[in-house]
């Protein structure tokens, strides 16, 4: 009888939930602070991405906090392969080996099959350890068709001097599996490609046919190391947060990161060129399988009578010899009690990794490691942006952000042979970021 009653009760509550979806949703969300965002990122002629974020936080009282985040993003468009532009057309096979695509004269070769959807889940629980300290543990999961990542993190924070000073220490571990389309390429193996002359070039060509290697005996499309590999990352982070005075707050972070495992981009190649600067072949890149990174980060926030100044600087260095400086600043200007404008400016520059080569010379001994990925080359970048936010009568907040991001890769001292002097080896990348947020 009791069982019967329970079933009746369960059926009744299920029916209730079906009939009153909004009521049950409201009950579920009770006590949660939800922050939602939808962002569009679009590069001129290259990648575009749409990313949606739903982040939530629930305060269970007594400093017990649960937070979670769901991120879904989709990428489409084309990304630079690492190959150099030529004065004549180039035909290159796709990463999967299915079909080829043609690169116009003077254009930077882009892989036009760049398409992916990623889902990321994060969860975090904060719990007091004593009256003046707390611990946080978290879980991170990210999955896309050729990459999977699982991570854990934990940190301890301790307050001193009336909570004016907080010291923290954290540890994170993540395990990533890379399963590239077409398998893992052999380092420096030749990628199937034919370099057309300008006479052969047909502007309307769209060669979707299967690869034909008959005329290219030196091209090896099948040589693969396997289908997947992995990478693990250990991060250590030390933080100091200090209240300076009634208006100013500072944070200093020191971070160390140890990456071991597959760090090569399986889709990137390098051009092997002759003395005339003509591409003879394309070979797959190879990066070291370990990387040790260190960074120092300083942020300060200052409360003005009419808003907030937020400034940060980061210096990062690693054993790939990439050093970078990042300045990030935001100025919140309160227009009314419930609305604000916020200009944003960010400047970034980095030195090239020691194994960065925009191309390799024919006839020279291959280096142990090499990449032509411009993201590991010398470059500077800046971002200009503006955000407008308004708090509505019910307390919800709506905001919009529009930004412009430009990367300017530079020559890190490489001499360009022959015709490579007539093409742009370091094209700028320009992107627009548009975002809408709703917080309730």
């Amino acid at each position: 009888m009791k069982k019967k009653l329970n079933i009746s009760a369960a059926l009744a509550s299920a029916t209730c939930a079906l009939l009153h979806p909004y009521a049950s949703a409201n009950e579920m969300l009770e006590g949660w602070k939800i922050d939602t965002s939808l962002m569009y990122y679009g590069e001129t002629d290259r990648v575009s991405a749409v990313e949606a974020v739903i982040a939530g936080q629930k305060d269970f009282g007594e400093e017990q906090l649960l937070s979670g985040k769901i991120v879904i993003d989709t990428l489409t468009g084309a990304s630079a392969t690492g190959a150099v532009a030529q004065l004549t057309a180039q035909t290159v096979s796709r990463p999967s080996g299915e079909g080829t695509y043609t690169v116009s004269p003077g254009e930077t070769p882009l892989d036009d099959t760049f398409k992916d959807t990623r889902v990321q889940l994060d969860g975090q629980w904060t719990q007091p350890w004593s009256d003046v300290s707390r611990i946080t543990t978290g879980l991170h999961l990210s999955t896309e068709h050729d990459y999977y990542s699982l991570g854990f993190n934990g940190s301890y924070a301790h307050d001193f001097y009336n909570k004016n000073t907080t010291l923290s220490a954290g540890l994170a571990y993540s395990y990533d599996v890379i399963k590239p389309e077409g398998g893992l390429p052999v380092p420096f193996a030749t990628k199937t490609a034919s370099i057309n002359t300008s006479e052969d070039y047909d502007d309307n060509e769209d060669d979707e046919s299967e690869d034909d290697d008959d005329d290219n005996d030196n091209y090896d499309n099948d040589e693969r190391l396997g289908s997947s590999d992995n990478k693990s990352t250990v991060d250590v982070l030390f933080g100091l947060t200090q209240v300076m005075n009634r208006r100013m707050l500072m944070q200093f972070n020191l971070g160390f990161s140890e990456i071991s495992g597959y760090s090569t981009d399986p889709y990137k190649v390098l051009s092997i060129v002759n003395e005339q600067g003509l591409t003879q072949s394309l070979v797959y890149e190879n990066r070291p399988d370990s990387r040790t990174k260190t960074f120092a980060f300083w942020q300060t926030k200052y409360a003005l009578d009419f808003g907030v100044v937020d400034f940060s600087y980061r210096f990062a260095t690693d054993d790939w010899k990439v050093d970078s400086h990042t300045f990030d600043s935001r100025l919140r200007i309160n227009l009314t009690d419930s609305s604000y404008l916020q200009p944003h400016f960010r400047y970034y520059n980095q030195s090239a990794a020691e194994f960065f080569h925009p191309f390799l010379m024919e006839g020279q001994v291959l280096p142990e490691f090499a990449t032509a990925d411009y993201r590991l080359g010398e470059m500077s970048a800046y971002t200009f942006g503006l955000k407008y936010g308004t708090k509505m009568d019910n307390g919800d907040e709506l905001s919009f952000r529009l930004e412009y991001y430009q990367q300017s890769p530079k020559n890190a001292g490489f001499t360009e042979p022959g015709t490579l002097q007539d093409v742009d080896l370091y094209p700028s990348v320009k992107a627009v970021i548009a975002q809408v947020n709703y917080r309730f």
């Binding site: 209240v243 990161s257 960074f295 980060f297 980061r314 990062a316």
Partner: protein, 74 residues
Amino acid sequence: MLKKARITVAFLISTQLVGCVNLGVQPWERDLLAKEEMALDSEGNDLGLDDHIYFSKEATSGGRAFAGGGCGCN
């Protein structure tokens, strides 16, 4: 002249050190710091999205939090 300069430097350093001792506020002086926009992570979603963009497009990551990867975008 040099001595004068040294005294000035020593004075400046000592006042800075005294300043350090006086860092911080009393609990009743937290009115401005308690504002939502003064929290270091007040714009969590913006910062997370920015981290993702710059992690994908540049060779350095981290700073505000762990530098770790977690996606194949780089």
